[in-house]
């Protein structure tokens, strides 16, 4: 499991970084989305992966080890929300820049790579 997830994080991050370095605003926004997937999975995976663990507490008090680790989950939940906010903001900045400059280059000047 760990191996697959680590490879997945790597592929997502690599695709995201490549897009981040591209000249078009749309490429950058997609790149940021992919990077945020990678980072969310990364934060989530810290401390080990658990399959089949209980996400919510049961009525009878039992061993704490049977539950999934709530801390990374809470962190990632926050990260997802903030990621949503920044993506929306970036989208609107992108549109405004497109409207003002007439093109979709990250520097607002066309004719360059």
């Amino acid at each position: 499991m760990e191996l697959v997830l680590a490879a997945a994080i790597g592929v997502l991050a690599a695709s995201g970084v490549w897009l981040l370095l591209r000249p078009r605003t749309f490429q950058v926004i997609i790149g940021l989305t992919l990077i945020s997937y990678a980072v969310n999975l990364f934060i989530f995976s810290i401390g080990g992966l658990r399959t089949g663990a209980d996400p919510v507490l049961r009525d009878v008090a039992g061993d704490i080890a049977q539950y999934a680790d709530p801390l990374p989950q809470a962190l990632v939940l926050t990260a997802i929300v903030i990621g949503f906010a920044t993506t929306s903001l970036f989208l609107v900045v992108l549109l405004t820049s497109r409207g003002l400059t007439g093109n979709d280059h990250v520097d607002g000047e066309d004719g360059t790579p």
Binding site: A6, G10, A74, S88, V92, L94
Partner: protein
């Protein structure tokens, strides 16, 4: 015995009055004046009342705990020396208040003026009353700030703005040095309390950091007190209204520097560095100020340079290092404040009545305003050091101090000569001021016929002149006890030098020096009068302008260096900058990895084939999105969504249903948002895609970097996963979630209860983003080629127009009819589902955030199916109100716990029996979660609707286009 609590009352009064003046500004200017004068008088009376407690050299203290854990308290301390300053600040403050009422133009409501002046008064009191040096620096910077605002009070004038800016940069820059200095001082002593520092003089002077500490503190004091080479800001600050010049730039604020020097005198003085730096700077400033003052043509300019010179005199007295010097310095601070404030007011009166401050255009005014002339004569004589006035006494003490031989070399003669020269110059400029303005012939071209200013303008001048006279005639009676209290507070009761405040000491060397300087000054004036009047700048030094140098330095710092940086650094383009960030991150990661124990022992057996297959799909989606994002945006968006879905499934797989639900819904909303935005992006220009060698090089290079980053991330993630965390705080959350938070869904309890404060910050960010998006889109101007309706819509409109059986927009009415109907039917169901998610959130996967997004998805579905116009005629959606209510509810729930004496955001829970539903756990955190819910609904809907509304824009009219283009060019 007065109570110590009076101290905080005295300090808080001006600030409260400042706020009151500002809030009650509608009630007219007289109220503002009453508040100003009343506050100052009350402060004066309370200060006088404190006298018995500090008369014997002891101090009053009041400590208000602020952050005791950090050793920080609000500490007030008043001894005789600060008491004397409090009298000056409050007394002159009251007089300036009265004066300003009649000086300022009648159409000014004065609320802003008095509000600032009162706030300044409070800050100045804060400096002298601080018992903690960090607190002192805080008030110090506040005086710089209010001085800036007051100099720039008439902000329409360029000179006021420039003068204010210069004063702010110089004094607050010095304030920063002072801050560093007191931090060092606190480090040496081990405490920031003034009492501890004053008791540790020997330790400080012997410490290795003594010299840097001294220099930093001196930089603060010299900039504030306009000492050479920082003196140039004071003449520029004369653009301030005259009451401000009288109050801040002669009587109080510029005295803060010398106040500090005397305050720290027991700690820092007595070394060679102190003697040479403080004494030397004082000497230069004394001479330079007096010399420049002779050549000024502006009345306030004369007074400004004269102030610089007198401040230099005080600094030099402090620098000499003898106890008698300190007594003389304190004495001269008071004397200078009284005669200089009255002279400023007199200059203001002349300006007010005659319409000019230019000395070349003034003369013979005593015929029109005899009382003002008499008062100015008294104060001017005090400035020149004429016997029977206060200036004479302190100048006498100054001469006596310069005569004490210290180094035993020829250098000892230098202070004596300079003292006599500066004193003679002082006589000359005082004569120019008084005789040139009030005596002699009346010029023919006076701007207007002057007459005596109103009584209330003369009264403050008169009172101050009276003090000059009283101190000069009866020094022992009038100022003796106060001076003794002040000096013994600094020097210690046992170390007071012997001094006599008598008017007549017999024929002594200082008296002869004084006489000689007086005669020289008069001669200089008589012989060179015409020469002075003809000069624009002072000879010899006129070309060296501190102002011009300051502006050049400012130009270099604020314009040349940034431009140089811009040229030297790689680029101002985004791509190289991002590349740099990526490379630095890589470098940092690589450096960290060199020291990490890194073993790679893959366990292939643990790989679940289904999970591997899932991520094969996910990886394909990610790479596909990366390759398609340039020309096939929709495809890239769908592929990104695919990668997102795969990570959703992974969350479910790995026991995190909450994350999966949130990610899924956020995914939906993000995709809709980007879809709505896609319409405004430009089309591909065919035939342009000839790739240069440079471009393909860049692509190859970026692929390489991206792969290195990916590899690094993968190994880092693998290492982190294989390295189990032994003792995380998760255990705490798991154990306490139910017993103390009342919820079984630990993730939700963490968010709304344990870490509720973080969530509050997070939803605030969301609200800010939504409002920013809304604001940006209101001013959104789409590019010219994407304004027209989409092709499909154009075709339909053409069809509607062509066929007589169809009305305009007929096609639109049937658009998406079946899905629309389904969505409309599903709308309440989705809302109910959102409610369900919300209610179960505390115990089962769900919660306010997920529920909020669900509801906004329902809304946007309705928008998509039925169109914005239909929805808005049938349903009133007020997203901004949702945001506001949500935020208020979240904060309100948090504040609710304060009512019960618990910290902010403490949650409480209990079981309640509800009919039908049965036993129901009700935690107060549900109120907070409801706030989150409302805010998320509002924010998400606001963004979606704002973006969707862009499609309702009508194509702009040609005229509109023209204005836009000219706007862009302008």
């Amino acid at each position: 015995m007065p109570d110590n609590a009076v101290l905080s009352v005295i300090l808080c009064l001006p600030f409260a009055a400042s706020a009151a003046v500002f809030l009650l500004r509608a009630l007219g200017r007289n109220l503002a004046v009453w508040l100003m004068v009343g506050t100052a008088l009350l402060g004066l009376i309370l200060s006088l009342w404190l006298y018995p407690a500090i008369a014997d050299g002891s101090a009053l203290r009041q400590v208000l705990p602020w952050a005791p854990g950090l050793g920080l308290d609000i500490s007030l301390r008043v001894d005789g020396f600060s008491w004397l300053f409090m009298l000056l600040i409050c007394g002159i403050g009251a007089l300036v208040g009265v004066y300003a009422r009649y000086y300022m133009p009648p159409d000014d409501r004065l609320a802003r003026f008095f509000s600032l002046l009162l706030a300044f008064m409070g800050s100045m009191l804060g400096i002298v009353m601080s018992g903690n040096v960090v607190q002192l620096v805080f008030f110090w910077e506040m005086t710089s700030l209010f001085s800036f605002l007051l100099i720039g009070y008439w902000y329409r004038g360029a000179s006021a703005r420039d003068g204010a800016r210069m004063a702010l940069i110089v004094t607050s820059g010095g304030g920063l040095c002072l801050f560093a200095g007191v931090l060092l001082l606190g480090h040496i002593v081990g405490s920031y309390e003034l009492d501890a520092i004053l008791a540790a003089g020997a330790l400080v002077r012997a410490h290795a950091l003594y010299t840097p500490t001294l220099i930093l503190i001196l930089l603060g004091a010299f900039t504030k007190s306009a000492q050479f080479p920082f003196h140039f800001w004071l003449p520029q600050a004369m653009s301030a209204p005259t009451p401000v010049s009288a109050y801040l730039h002669s009587a109080t604020m510029v005295k803060a520097g010398v106040f500090l020097l005397i305050r720290f005198w027991p700690v820092l003085a007595g070394t060679g560095q102190w003697f040479w730096i403080v004494g030397g700077v004082g000497l230069v400033t004394l001479l330079l100020g007096a010399y420049s003052a002779i050549f000024q043509q502006d009345l306030k300019g004369v007074l400004a340079y004269s102030t610089i010179s007198h401040l230099g005199l005080i600094t030099m007295l402090i620098g000499l290092g003898s106890t008698l010097g300190v007594v003389a310095a304190i004495f001269h601070i008071v004397n200078h404040a009284t005669f200089k404030a009255s002279l400023f007011m007199a200059a203001g009166a002349v300006d007010h009545e005659a319409g000019t401050r230019d000395m070349r255009r003034l003369g013979g005014l005593r015929r029109f305003m005899p009382i003002t002339a008499t008062l100015a004569l008294i104060a001017g004589a005090a400035m020149a050091g004429v016997p029977l006035l206060n200036g004479f006494l302190s100048k006498e003490m100054f001469f006596a101090e310069t005569l004490v031989a210290r180094q035993g070399v020829v250098l000892d003669i230098v202070p004596v000569v300079i003292a006599i020269a500066a004193s003679a110059f002082g006589v000359t400029y005082s004569l120019r001021f008084v005789r040139g303005v009030f005596f002699g012939r009346v010029p023919a071209d006076l701007p207007r016929v002057p007459h005596e200013p109103p009584l209330w303008m003369r009264l403050p001048i008169g009172l101050l002149a009276l003090i000059c006279l009283l101190v000069g005639v009866l020094p022992g009676r009038v100022i003796g006890p106060s001076l003794h209290a002040a000096a013994s507070a600094v020097l210690g009761v046992g170390h007071m030098p012997a001094y006599s405040l008598a008017v007549w000491h017999g024929v002594t060397t200082p008296l002869l020096m004084s006489l000689f300087a007086f005669v020289m000054g008069c001669l200089l004036y008589a012989r060179m009068r015409g020469y002075f009047a003809g000069r624009e700048v002072a000879p010899l030094i006129g070309r060296i302008s501190g102002k011009r140098m300051f502006e050049r330095v400012l130009g270099v710092v604020a314009s040349d260096i940034p431009r140089l940086l811009e040229r030297t650094l790689p680029s101002r383009r985004l791509q190289p900058q991002l590349l740099l960030i990526v490379l630095i991150a890589l470098l940092a990661g690589g450096l960290a990895a060199t020291s990490a124990p890194f073993g790679f022992h893959p366990r292939w057996s643990s790989v679940d084939p289904a999970f591997a297959l899932l991520w094969l799909l996910g990886a394909a989606c990610a790479i596909g999105a990366a390759s398609q994002a340039k020309f096939h945006r929709l495809a890239a968006l769908i592929l990104t969504g695919g990668a997102g879905l795969v990570s959703c499934v992974s969350f479910v797989w790995l026991s995190a249903p909450d994350l999966a639900a949130t990610q899924l819904l956020v995914e939906v909303v993000t995709t809709i948002l980007i879809l709505l935005g896609l319409r405004w992006l430009p089309k591909r220009i065919e035939g342009l895609a000839t790739e240069s060698r440079m471009q393909s090089f860049r692509r190859g290079r970026d692929v390489l970097f991206a792969m290195v980053v990916g590899l690094g991330m993968a190994s880092l993630a693998y290492a982190a996963m294989m390295h189990p965390v032994a003792n995380s705080i998760s255990r705490f959350f798991l154990e306490r979630a139910y017993t103390e938070g009342g919820g079984r869904n630990v993730v939700n309890v963490i968010l709304v209860d344990f870490r509720g404060f973080d969530t509050l910050g997070e939803i605030s960010v969301l609200a800010i983003v939504a409002l920013t998006v809304f604001g940006l889109l209101r001013r959104f101007r789409p590019a010219a080629e994407s304004i027209h309706a989409p092709l499909q819509q154009q075709q339909q409109t053409a069809l509607d127009a062509a066929q007589p059986s169809r009305a305009v927009d007929h096609s639109l009415t049937d658009y998406l009819m079946i899905p629309g109907l389904i969505i409309q039917l599903m709308f309440p169901v989705i809302l109910l589902f959102g409610l369900h998610l919300f209610l179960r959130g505390h115990d089962l996967p769900g919660g306010g955030f997920v529920a909020g997004i669900t509801v906004s998805v329902a809304l946007i579905l309705l928008y998509m199916a039925r169109g914005a116009r239909w929805v808005e005629t049938h349903l009133r959606v007020l997203p901004v109100r949702w945001i506001g209510l949500g935020l208020l509810l979240a904060v309100g729930t948090g504040l609710g716990s304060l009512v019960f004496g618990r910290p902010f955001l403490t949650s409480h829970f209990r079981y309640v029996e509800l009919p039908l539903l049965g036993r129901f756990p009700l935690a107060s955190a549900i109120g907070f979660d409801l706030g989150v819910f409302g805010l998320v609904v509002g924010a998400t809907t606001l963004m979606l609707i704002a973006l969707a509304h862009q499609s309702l824009r009508r194509p702009r009219q040609p005229a509109d286009d023209a204005t836009l283009e000219t706007g862009a060019q302008g």
